[in-house]
Symmetry: C3
Subunit: 132 residues, 3 copies
């Protein structure tokens, strides 16, 4: 099986974005006065913290379908949906930072990308098994 180069690049971009979110949590601790090891105590901080953690929570749901879709079906297709996921995560983070309800548009964008990647991965594996 060939290595999916474009998906590898998009995965590194996703890691870079995820790391950037982590730095926003660190900065938020100073801005809103939430000292380690606490993760609660100020709602503005908690929304930034949860936006970061939610990205972590979705990592298995994103990365596994992404790579199985890339390996079994299409590198370019998986990479393109990976970019949609990244865009959705940026919209989600900016929205959640402002208000709880504003997290939803970005949430559905990234969720849709994961769903399509999951379908692509499932179709790809089944086609491979069926085709021998």
């Amino acid at each position: 099986m060939a290595m999916p180069h474009y998906t590898a690049i998009v995965t590194l971009l996703a890691v870079a974005l995820y790391f950037f979110f982590a730095t926003r949590v660190a900065t938020g601790r100073g801005t809103f006065g939430v000292k380690h090891p606490a993760t609660t105590g100020n709602l503005d901080f908690e929304r930034i913290f949860r936006a970061h953690v939610n990205t972590l929570e979705w990592m298995p749901t994103f990365l596994i379908p992404l790579w199985l879709c890339a390996l079994y079906l299409s590198d370019i297709g998986a990479a393109a949906l990976g970019l949609v996921w990244i865009a959705g995560r940026i919209v989600y983070f900016i929205g959640y930072k402002q208000a709880v309800e504003k997290r939803l548009p970005g949430f559905f964008i990234q969720g849709t990308a994961c769903l399509l990647l999951f379908i692509g991965a499932a179709v790809g594996v089944v086609m491979r098994l069926a085709g021998g």
Copy 2:
């Protein structure tokens, strides 16, 4: 190295289950009145929330041995233990939802699956290195 198709399918099943747990957390927020971004405040909600997060916490401990065992030793064997892990996680979730103590049987089932996968992966890598 051949792609482990059966392990790929079991991994997608694990992702689907993990996603299902996330929907239970979302539903639990409504049922028990815990608003975003809070994750505490009602013990019934907290047990569901923690059952989901614990599944995330175990993802590295499950997925890495699963795939290394599949690649280095046996696709079918890894996939079978992956199904045991999934079963253990279902038992764990149902139990933890009811009471703290009832999480233990499922916890030990999924932990045993991870331990066996870890041993399989370690044996597989060492055999490969020793065999050239």
Copy 3:
């Protein structure tokens, strides 16, 4: 692409360490009287808990660059930086357990390892794409 055996072994070591941290959280619940499903209530426990969760939070930032660096550039190089990450995580955990400020040296060691792995992975992918 050849399977990076040394990186596979280091990854299993990282999983073993991560699992060991989880057992420290479980033990800490007894020592400091923090009952499931709570994760707060005692600062000594919370520092151990956060040291474990922070390791989870960094897993994508570590594992993805580690494996892409191993596959695209150098198995031995990635494995060596993986050992540095493990060492940094041990220093981080021991430090954070004692005091909040003492987490920093280990934090920077493991962060530097991730940064170098990320650079190695990015350079490796770009070289492969440029070289055809």
